[in-house]
Symmetry: C2
């Protein structure tokens, strides 16, 4: 439906840095944001990559994002702490929290950090991918503005509240495979499928969600909320994630969370939660990685169901895409490129590709 162009990873990265630098974001900080966004695109989670850049610029322009936050860390106990993001870019704020979490977990064996006064942090799986590099199991979660209809209800209350959990790389015959990274929203259907149906003008299944009257709808423009995964289970998980991130941070929760696109003139004040476990405290890491490798080999040997080529473990498909896109470039459609070209022209930076 759209023409696709392949954009080199390094050019995309540079473009993000140049754009943010024009908006007074220090270059070192901008490089962190660029790494989070580019990683999303490399993994194939394009909804959370470069497509969000113009939104961040809009919020830097209107003052609801702080380009030079004074990020503050308070250590609360040997293994816990609170990071105040001073309304900076969520990617940067959460990266600083991740750095502190590595220190806490290295010294204590486990660690947990609550982040407050942050904003959209990109893909939760990014921070987990960094944590597992240290031989940790890692977990990252964030709320988003209300779009999930709690089980038994008719109105959106929680966000799509993603949860990411991961483990270090399986090792098979001395070779490291991709790390295990599960990165999942708590809604059954990703929001991107609604956007696609809207753009294509196609009806959606009645099971996906409700309209503003709390009734099933087949019209993508009328849907105001999606159902959770597995009914009460996904509904409960979304609440748990909001408790760890928002209520524990003492910030707005559920339907009170600032709407990313529809309440553009207020700061987001988001909370996040990160935690980690140093696996080597429980078992030597090489023994763990070898057993994980054996598990993965056996999973791959399970006979596939009709329509599948094999059983994948979480993070494996993303790693395959990353290998492909880092060589062949990141596919970006014309509509998104138009948006990036506009940004480039407005700010006087080089666009990420020639068409």
């Amino acid at each position: 439906m759209f023409a696709m162009h392949r954009v080199e990873e390094s050019r995309l990265r540079r473009f993000v840095v140049e754009v943010l630098a024009k908006k007074d974001v220090p270059r070192g900080d901008a490089e962190i944001v660029a790494d989070v966004l580019t990683t999303a695109n490399l993994c194939g989670i394009d909804s959370h990559g470069i497509v969000r850049l113009s939104h961040y610029v809009r919020r830097l322009d209107n003052g609801t994002l702080n380009p030079r936050p004074r990020i503050h860390f308070r250590q609360a106990s040997p293994s816990t702490g609170v990071v105040d993001g001073d309304d900076g870019l969520g990617h940067l704020v959460t990266f600083r929290a991740y750095e502190r979490l590595v220190e806490l977990t290295s010294s204590s064996g486990t660690g947990a950090i609550v982040v407050r006064n942050s904003s959209h942090f990109g893909i939760a799986g990014y921070y987990v991918r960094r944590l597992v590099e240290h031989g940790f199991a890692g977990m990252a979660m964030t709320p988003s503005d209300a779009f999930l209809i709690p089980f038994g209800g008719t109105k959106p209350f929680f966000g799509t509240n993603p949860l990411a959990i991961g483990f270090p790389c399986p090792v098979v015959d001395g070779e490291k495979l991709a790390p295990v990274v599960l990165d999942m929203a708590t809604t059954e259907i990703p929001f991107g499928k609604i956007v696609l149906a809207q753009k294509e003008g196609k009806p959606i299944p009645r099971e996906w969600g409700f309209d503003s009257d709390g009734k099933p709808t087949t019209e993508p423009d009328r849907i105001v909320g999606l159902h959770p995964i597995a009914g009460p289970k996904g509904s409960g998980l979304a609440m748990i994630i909001d408790l760890f991130c928002s209520v524990l941070a003492g910030t707005a929760w559920g339907p009170h969370i600032n709407k990313m696109y529809r309440e553009i003139d207020a700061k987001r004040k988001l909370g996040h939660f990160l935690c980690a476990w140093d696996l080597s405290r429980f078992r030597p890491l090489d023994a763990f990685a070898a057993d994980l490798g054996a598990m993965v080999q056996e999973m791959h040997a399970v006979p596939p169901a009709d329509g599948f080529d094999r059983v994948y473990y979480p993070g494996e498909i993303e790693a395959e895409r990353m290998a492909d896109r880092s060589v062949r470039g990141i596919p970006i459609d014309d509509g998104v490129l138009d948006d990036l070209d506009d940004l480039a022209a407005k700010l006087g930076v080089e666009p990420p590709t020639e068409r």
Copy 2:
């Protein structure tokens, strides 16, 4: 389909203690097991309560459960440790791990314990219910023998691998409500629904799982595995739980886990994982509980969907059942009571009720 009898909680508890004492389990330890089993029945999770007692007795008889385990704790760092259960009853072993976890979390702010050489531990939510009493958020997980078909595959590989997560009681107008306790299996359909269809001789929907040829079936007797919740999400969660519990404990994982009922002559050697976060390190507990109370009130005010009376939070329905059953008694069907009467007669203890 079965006649139901109400059995007093205290008599059920006493019955468990008397039965286990006859099998050489020290009384204090038997009381812990009785508390876990009775709590399951009080909550309405009858599949994990008293119905399992005769199975434990069978394993105590054949030596695959150790009535007097030497439970060993090794502290690995300020916030981590490993408990070796010496093949004791999983409820007792995990309770001892919970006690250590409280110490670690109180001193460090977070804590995590891997349990090895354990066995069936009852409901994961029990340990979370205990952890939240300390003002902690708590998490407990366990693998079970293979019954979950990984997404894209045709054979069971992981167990139904339950995950429980909880938070302390919401407070509304100075009154404590039931704690938030999410306790969920990672399969879409609970195994109990298969057992019921088998007993009733009714067909099951083709969507539930596969037969031994990896094909959908409507015959409950032919089903060998169930599908995970939400496809790749539940499949990934089941794997993550097996990594935390089995691979991190250095014990059997996935399809290699001892089958509770079908491999009765070998020790189970199960691993579990428990962790906790001291909420007061992040935010004063009373402020947290008040905001959680406000959230719960707003959830209750969401207009209910057709067929629902209102939105419940996780643990709320279980608390309602607990209030009812602790007064009116625990409903137990004739089939299960026959089994308990047999045990009573064989061991020379008083049966839990007169019929």
